[in-house]
């Protein structure tokens, strides 16, 4: 219990942002027509590739002698950037096919 209180008091600002961001996410998606569900899922998937920033931070801070950290970080960057590039590119390809309403 103490541990939970310590966590909350240390991260109060983060928690505010977290909760507000949850509401934004819900509001943004609530009324999307089903036509767009597939591209939306794909676009959101590309956004979750933001984890790449963490992978970059790992690589930037890694000690060059620490081969394990470098190797894991390297793979993390590769996987993350595939998620980002592939995700955005494929979403774009999908949306390309929707013709505008006249």
């Amino acid at each position: 219990m103490n541990y939970l209180i310590e966590f909350i008091s240390n991260n109060l600002q983060l928690l505010y942002i977290l909760i507000l961001a949850i509401f934004i996410g819900v509001e943004l998606i609530k009324n999307v027509p089903s036509v767009l569900h597939t591209p939306l899922m794909s676009g959101a998937n590309a956004l979750s590739g933001v984890v790449i920033v963490g992978a970059l931070l790992v690589m930037l801070q890694a000690n060059p002698e620490d081969y394990l950290a470098l190797a894991l970080g390297f793979v993390a960057v590769v996987l993350g950037i595939i998620n980002v590039v592939g995700g955005f590119a494929v979403t774009d390809r999908m949306l390309q096919m929707f013709k505008k309403k006249k």
């Binding site: 767009l36 590309a46 790449i52 950037i81 999908m94």
Partner: protein, 467 residues
């Protein structure tokens, strides 16, 4: 962190919110996707150039080559993939995101092993790291299994009492994680044990879920990847990761519920009550099926279509599997040339993912205005001369209206039985994904055109040409 980097992250976060908002409207979706992509690129470049660590050259070289390799792979997969393979691709990319999160967790955990007590990380940070590893691992293997299933390279496997096993397994993971935090998180052996357990859980979680429910699972896993990204964001106190991750987390979760609603299922029913299992077999016998079906030929169907005023096409997954989206467009154009009013009725869950059918038809250049959503097309069926159902089954099953014992009872469907004639193209009399009989096929107004969608439609087109 330098102030420039903070501002860059702020801008990136705003582009994510705008991008997601714009993705929700057909007219702005493409631009929205580009805006978030630009935000992501500046966040990545900013992180590399405006950090304030002392970074050896070798690290930069490794980062550069990793980015290059990943960009090429991601790009190649994205431009090469066929549109029918879209759902599994999203799943695959999603798994990669989860894999990235779990690796970050592993490296951060390593910083706590074998260091002096004064250098130890606090238990709240350890908890965050473990959460990133567990969630990242579950999405990694879970998404890969979903990918394999949609690919057709893996069947549903249901261990006896899989629900019980999975739930106990999950509780075990939590208890084990708590133990590692209590113990002081000083052991590589324990963390790798936890890693393998979490990876195994991801497999067990997805393996019993039926292929038709995979989109819901992918959406859920997508949401989890977002949460994993947000957790790593907390770890680094990094706002763009936190907000970006949470946006995906909550948006993905809402999308999951929207999809479940469209199928009239609850999320727990999707995850715990594998469809086509016990409950559905009971319903087959309960359904008032039987009677005779009326077979028809391509030439008879062509005559029927030729003299119709209004034709509605109902495409289903069978159309996608047979890659018949181009030939159906040809049929549509031919009928329009003969003065027939043609439109497509799109059920919200037609295809393998909600909206998947729209993407497929858009690919074969079907006019966007011809795709009519369920609520708008249903009142038009009584004035429709011929409905052509291609590879769709459960979404046109009247049992959803009039058989309370049916597993799909209450699901909104396309009311095609109100039309004057119904032509159903199917490969065989096999039941649909829900594993239930369809009384529509026994309707007096229905004629069955058996055969693979592509060859049946090709025949239909050539018959029509000759008229």
């Amino acid at each position: 962190m330098s102030i420039i980097l903070s501002i860059i992250y702020l801008i990136a976060t705003v582009t994510f919110v705008f991008g997601l908002k714009m993705l929700g409207h057909p007219e702005t979706a493409k631009k929205g996707n580009l805006i978030s992509a630009v935000g992501m690129v500046i966040a990545i470049i900013g992180t590399i150039f405006f950090h304030d660590f002392e970074v050896p050259l070798i690290n930069y070289l490794l980062i550069g080559s990793a980015l290059l390799v990943g960009t090429i792979i991601g790009w190649l997969i994205a431009v090469k993939v066929e549109m029918t393979k879209m759902p599994e691709l999203v799943s695959l990319f999603n798994g990669f995101g989860g894999g990235s999160a779990l690796l970050i967790g592993l490296v951060e955990f390593g910083k706590n092993v074998g260091v002096e007590d004064s250098m130890k990380l606090s238990s709240s940070i350890i908890t965050t790291i473990l959460a990133a590893i567990i969630i990242g691992s579950i999405t990694f293997t879970g998404s890969l299994i979903a990918w394999a299933k949609l690919n057709g390279s893996m069947n549903d496997i249901r261990l006896p009492k899989y629900n019980l096993i999975n739930n106990v397994f999950f509780l075990g993971l939590i208890v084990f994680g708590t133990y590692i935090v209590m113990q002081g998180a000083d052991s590589f052996v324990l963390i790798y044990l936890l890693l393998f357990a979490a990876l195994a859980y991801g497999v067990l979680f997805v393996i019993p879920i039926g292929g038709a429910d995979m989109p819901v699972v992918i959406s859920l896993l997508n949401s989890l990847t977002g949460i994993a990204a947000a957790i790593t964001g907390i770890l680094y106190g990094n706002m763009v990761m936190l907000v970006g991750g949470i946006l995906v987390g909550s948006a993905g979760l809402i999308l999951t519920f929207v999809m479940c609603n469209a199928m009239n299922r609850s999320l727990s029913n999707v995850i715990f009550g594998a469809f086509g299992g016990d409950s559905a077999t009971g319903a087959v016998s309960a359904g008032k099926t039987g009677g005779t079906i009326k077979k028809t030929t391509a030439s008879d169907s062509a005559i029927l279509l030729n003299y119709a005023n209004k034709v509605v096409i109902v495409p289903g997954y069978g159309l996608a599997v047979a890659q018949a989206q181009h030939i159906i467009h040809e049929l549509e154009l031919l009928l329009i040339k003969k003065g027939v009013d043609v439109s497509y009725a799109i059920h919200p869950v037609a295809g393998r993912m909600p909206g998947h059918m729209n993407v497929l038809l858009a690919e074969s250049k079907v006019d966007y205005d011809k795709l009519i959503e369920m609520d708008d097309i249903n009142p038009q069926f009584p004035n429709t001369d011929v409905v052509l159902v291609v590879g769709a089954n459960d979404v046109v099953n009247p049992a959803a209206h009039n058989d309370p014992s049916s597993p799909i009872y209450g699901m909104p469907i396309l009311d095609v039985e109100n039309a004057r004639h119904i032509i159903v193209n199917k490969r065989s009399m096999n039941a649909g994904y829900a594993g239930i009989e369809n009384e529509l096929f026994f309707n007096q107004k229905t004629s069955m055109l058996f055969g693979d969608a592509k060859s049946a439609l090709t025949e239909l087109v050539s018959e029509l040409r000759n008229m």
